[in-house]
Symmetry: C2
Subunit: 345 residues, 2 copies
């Protein structure tokens, strides 16, 4: 944060938003009117519109003692773009509303908007509106994302069919391990403020927690592979919970093979260091913002060697329930609660 401290009250509500969004680049020609009128105006087309909204609350979704504001702004946008990706859509616009306490100077908001702007630039999405208001306590960020999909190509959670393959992008559990490290260093700092935080060698998993990315590339890879996903969801709450959402919405059961779950080496080692089961971190950790989707069995050959995808299981009869098959062939019941321990089936 800068040394300067400008009180928010020095700007009016409108002055503040104008100040924070000055020289803001726009990327989408359909964004006819963005910030500055009663509503944003989007030009239509023959595509369908996707809209998603998420709220981040201080003390619940983030801790400002270790979340830099610019990362927080970035993440608030990204988690919403991820929802658009999870419909097989392309995110185009965002609206960002903030409730802020006076304890924040304008420079803190500038830092937050710096992160929002970075996300807008990286993903070529336009900031088209929002609301900035006072909060009597913590910081609340509400983001609405707008996207497009070709008509008929949008993918719902409910589209999976029996025996289809369950595929996940990237790797899982890293964001959760990043959080463990940040929480540990926070408690070390609280008891011994003179000790320097030990974050060495954990860059990847810290970044997964603090500055996640939305998988806008998955749609492109699948198109290249000639694969149309049949159902899709993003992993915000952990693989187990999201897989069960997918199965429930599709009226099916599912099986996941433990050995197929993609876990990065660093995540694995850090989990062991923390005496955590790496598989449990992947199943229940959440905040990875990877995409989980189903494809037809005949697409297996097309996807099996792709570096960004792992086939981790398949859909099954609803009577079979939600099953994790461990390395020894043992079967376990997956539970909807991301945080519950696994129950032996």
């Amino acid at each position: 944060m800068n040394e300067r401290r400008t009180e928010i009250s020095e700007f009016g509500e409108f002055g503040l938003i104008n100040h924070l969004t000055k020289n803001w680049p726009m990327f989408r020609k359909e964004s006819l009117k963005a910030v500055g009128d009663d509503a944003a105006v989007l030009d239509s087309s023959d595509q369908i519109t996707l809209i998603s909204t998420d709220m981040l609350v201080e003390g619940v979704h983030f801790d400002l003692s270790y979340s830099p504001l610019k990362h927080l702004g970035y993440k608030a946008v990204v988690v919403n773009l991820s929802d658009i990706c999870a419909m097989n859509g392309e995110p185009h616009q965002v609206l960002v509303s903030l409730a802020i306490s006076n304890r924040f100077p304008v420079e803190a908001l500038e830092e937050l908007y710096f992160g929002i702007k970075q996300a807008c630039q990286n993903y070529k999405v336009d900031l088209i509106g929002g609301d900035t208001t006072t909060s009597r306590s913590g910081l609340v960020i509400s983001v609405t994302a707008v996207g497009k999909a070709e008509k008929g190509k949008e993918v719902y959670r409910s589209g999976a069919a029996m025996n289809e393959l369950l595929v996940v992008s990237g790797d899982l559990g890293a964001a959760y391990m990043g959080l463990q490290i940040l929480e540990r260093e926070k408690s070390v700092y609280q008891s011994s403020p003179e000790v320097q935080p030990d974050l060495n060698g954990a860059d990847y998993i810290l970044e997964r927690q603090l500055k996640p990315e939305a998988r806008v590339d998955v749609k492109i890879y699948l198109k290249e592979l000639g694969i149309e996903p049949t159902s899709m969801i993003d992993i915000s709450d952990g693989l187990s919970s999201e897989a069960i959402h997918l199965a429930k919405a599709s009226g099916l059961g599912l099986s996941i093979y433990e050995e197929k779950i993609p876990i990065d080496n660093l995540t694995y080692d850090k989990a062991r260091e923390f005496n955590l089961d790496p598989t449990l971190c992947a199943l229940s950790g959440g905040e990875d913002y990877e995409l989980l989707f189903t494809i037809a069995q005949e697409d297996f050959e097309k996807i099996k060697d792709h570096p960004h995808f792992s086939v981790i299981g398949h859909m099954s009869d609803p009577a079979a329930g939600y099953v994790l098959i461990d390395r020894n062939g043992g079967q376990h019941q997956l539970t909807a609660q991301g945080w519950d321990p696994l129950l032996k089936g």
Copy 2:
């Protein structure tokens, strides 16, 4: 509120939203998918899309000691629909996000959603998404409204031209007087809890404060009259502040005639009772959610006797500034701050 008290924790996040939106009616065929997937899905057309978002924060925008939750839910939706009306659009969908503290039982949320549902039904708008999360302190409601306008018929703040007439719908100042009464009765209650609140005969202005309506009818009346507004804004912050927004966005000055400002008799009498200037209540009070717009001079004859509209002034050269002409012909400078006293020009 009901006698029952069900803890929010008895439902999961998804269970809670499913519970609150059970049997929810849908009105728009373009709302392909609403609550229950990663994003809402809207079918497009040859119209343009309007999107607006607003955040209401407990202790800042509402006081639960006199705002019934069902009115609050209703109002949270309506203030967003009003923004769509202010673009000359028709509101079609809303997304509602809540941050709620555990001090609220499920029954309180049911009451809030009852109000949201009433607004959805009255205005035939679909609830298509949202997010429900924990708050560590007060209640925060963030609503995003989506609407449509015929391409080329959307109306911006910036469209006014020199000498065009300034018109306002309905009457002004009542919502502010409603707030004064509620604040007075709250302070009476705090000092003498045995005294019954004196709200008699103030129904209209209390309703204007607690349960405002969005002027979806203005678009219809104007069409009937054969009038196309050239610029438009809704009055959320007071006539003075909104008129100046319009003038600034259009690069013009303006004059408003005090005697033309529509003030309901009850508002007038209550203002006098509170030793407040009724004109000042109308200029600076806010929360009336009436529409302020400009029309061509030649449309004067069409609109002058309409019961829902008042021609209150005209746009002028920017050098003339923002002027209030009082009953004696005296000129005063209007200020952007809704709450500042008028300065003699």
